[in-house]
């Protein structure tokens, strides 16, 4: 036990004196979460839109005001001809144009219907679809208002709610994914580099001839990083909740417990990587690139797994981040309890045990 303490003390000295380690530990999460959280968003905000109001009457005015009140667009009222609109699109300055015909109000009252035209930039289909949805929704809304004051007619109003994410905040979907990504990368990178560094320096040999047990070397290496990752987890959680506005609906205790299982799995993965490499660069590369790609692709936070070919869907089951992502979403967004995420817990624990067993047995073989 005393030996173990001596080892762990030493390990902490390494961490706090090595700027590279600290950078990996806290720099990567900060960068990844803010970057992914802010940049990777499917929602549209403050899109520039031209409104050409050819009617200039009461109703057109009210409709434009309603549009203006929305945070999705920035409205520019312009009096330009049809041909000039295309020029604006070509300049790439506007995402959509709304054209209100003359006699808008007149048509509405007398003919009971009028038209508005919406033009969007099809080179960005996702943004275009979103804008059409928003504008249609606002127009419908206005239509309901004027119908309420006029003669009532029968209609079905679909009431739509996005459960667990009422505001359609895109980052709450990404952030749990990025959390999985960051923890995976940081944990594997740190442990693998920590072990390989000793190999590179030649100190590993000194440790192996000491009475300290080889399995002890591995555990003593992993334990400080387990503690540090816990600190890191707090940091990530704070970023997620307070900066990225991801709600925490479920139990924080469960969240931490679940996350620690994932962290332990990632650390075991790091130990495994350290066994098959002899240089810090390779270890770092393997843990960064090797872990990043499968995590991004197969955890389902960017590319929906349901749309993938069956083979890849099966493959995703062996990607730890997939389980963590699902579990964290259940806890944070849906507020589910342990009964709903036990499968994820079991899967992660099994993978962790598997990695650790191989890591330890391979470590012993090197000594034989």
């Amino acid at each position: 036990m005393k030996q173990f303490l001596a080892f762990i003390t030493k390990e902490f000295y390494h961490v706090f004196r090595d700027k590279k380690t600290l950078l990996i530990l806290f720099g990567i999460p900060l960068m990844q979460i803010t970057l992914f959280g802010f940049a990777l968003t499917s929602e549209v905000k403050n899109a520039d839109i031209i409104v050409i109001d050819n009617a200039k009457d009461d109703d057109s005015e009210k409709l434009i005001n309603k549009l203006r009140a929305s945070t999705y667009f920035t409205i520019y009222e312009k009096q330009i001809g049809y041909n000039a609109i295309e020029k604006e699109f070509k300049k790439g300055q506007i995402k959509a144009a709304i054209i209100i015909p003359p006699k808008f109000n007149n048509d509405l009252i007398k003919g009971k219907k009028s038209q508005i035209q919406i033009l969007t930039d099809g080179t960005e289909p996702n943004v275009a679809k979103m804008l059409v949805q928003y504008i249609t929704a606002i127009t419908m809304d206005y239509q309901r208002e004027i119908n309420a004051t006029n003669s009532p007619m029968m209609m079905i109003i679909p009431e739509i709610r996005m459960l667990y994410n009422e505001e359609g905040n895109g980052s709450i979907n990404f952030v749990p994914g990025v959390m999985a990504l960051v923890l995976m990368i940081v944990c594997t990178a740190l442990t693998s580099v920590a072990v390989v560094r000793e190999k590179e320096l030649g100190t590993m040999e000194a440790l192996l001839v000491s009475p300290f047990k080889p399995i002890g070397v591995l555990l003593a290496k992993a334990l400080p990083y387990l503690v540090l990752s816990f600190v890191n987890l707090n940091f990530i959680l704070l970023l997620a909740v307070f900066v990225m506005k991801v709600p925490m609906q479920g139990s924080i205790l469960l969240f931490f417990f679940f996350s620690m299982i994932f962290i332990a799995t990632s650390l075991s993965m790091g130990l495994l990587i350290s066994n098959i490499t002899d240089s810090q660069q390779v270890a770092l590369l393997l843990s960064m690139i090797g872990m990043m790609l499968p995590t991004i692709v197969f955890s389902g936070f960017i590319f929906p797994l349901e749309n993938m070919p069956k083979f890849f869907q099966w493959f995703s089951y062996i990607v730890p981040a997939r389980w963590y992502y699902t579990g964290v979403k259940s806890i944070m967004l849906k507020g589910l309890d342990i009964h709903y995420i036990w499968k994820e817990m079991v899967a992660l624990s099994m993978m962790g045990t598997f990695f650790l067993t191989i890591a330890i047995s391979k470590f012993k073989i090197r000594l034989a």
């Binding site: 003390t9 000491s210 300290f212």
Partner: protein, 264 residues
């Protein structure tokens, strides 16, 4: 004690019969890696307090032999005991009783000398209080008072090696294995390093050292010359020179090592 004095006291080769107390015993010790016989039936004994030199070209099997004796790898066949413990079954016991310093020395660059001593002392189970007292003493002996809390990375190579040796014997092992400990060090520092080795030997610590430097071989009580995994010669430096009729160990070594067929 300096080298000349030590040489005089030990110049007659082995210690007298009564004092002879083998701490390393090897008989037909062999290590194979597949078809490759790295160490081929080596047999020797090393006595307590002896400075035992292990010479050989690169790839001659020195490091493999040393690794078997220090409990890092298992032999393929043959017998060996170190500090009275069998290398097959009592590796853990052996590890407690030996010290080890490799050519790439075993210190942590981003730890201070004091922290390095504390760490290795702790790993070898030296009581904390004892570590505290003796490490201060050691730092004084090495003249590292001003560097005690600076990082090892900032020390000159020679000092690092002296410190590494001190760390390797800090837990008072029965035997210390030195794997080319003086690589890349200037002659004066090497001299000082050997003074430390003699001092340790005089306290009864057995020194098992591999080296490339033939002048260092002359400092040993007895030397072994390994060629292609076999022991070609084993005797005091004086006797070897006489037997092979050469003026220096360098020439003896050259005569024997030339026969090597194995390349690195």
């Amino acid at each position: 004690m300096n080298i000349t004095e030590a040489n005089i006291t030990n110049n007659n080769g082995l210690l007298s019969k009564e004092e002879k107390e083998p701490v390393i015993i090897c008989k037909d010790l062999t290590k194979k890696f597949g078809d490759f016989v790295a160490v081929d039936h080596i047999t020797f004994e090393v006595n307590k307090g002896e400075i035992f030199g292990f010479l050989g070209a690169n790839g001659a099997g020195k490091t493999t032999a040393m690794r078997m004796l220090s409990g890092l790898i298992y032999p393929t066949s043959g017998q060996a005991s170190v500090a009275g413990f069998d290398v097959y079954h009592k590796q853990e016991k052996i590890k407690k009783n030996i010290g080890y310093m490799s050519q790439r020395f075993s210190l942590y660059d981003n730890l201070s000398p004091l922290e390095n001593i504390t760490f290795y002392g702790g790993v070898y189970g030296v009581p904390r209080k004892e570590i505290k007292e003796r490490s201060r003493l050691l730092i004084e002996q090495l003249g590292l008072q001003n560097e005690a809390n600076k990082l090892v990375a900032s020390l000159p190579l020679g000092w690092k090696q002296k410190l590494a040796f001190s760390v390797a014997i800090f837990h008072e092992p029965k035997i210390v294995f030195l794997d080319e400990p003086t690589g890349g060090v200037d002659p004066i520092t090497r001299r000082q390093f050997w003074d430390m080795i003699y001092e340790a030997a005089s306290r009864g610590i057995t020194i098992f050292v591999t080296t490339h430097y033939m002048d260092e071989a002359e400092y040993c009580n007895r030397i072994t010359i390994m060629v292609d995994g076999k022991i070609e010669a084993l005797d005091t430096p004086g006797n070897l020179k006489r037997i092979y009729n050469e003026n220096s160990i360098n020439d003896v070594f050259y005569k024997l090592a030339r026969k090597a067929t194995r390349e690195e």
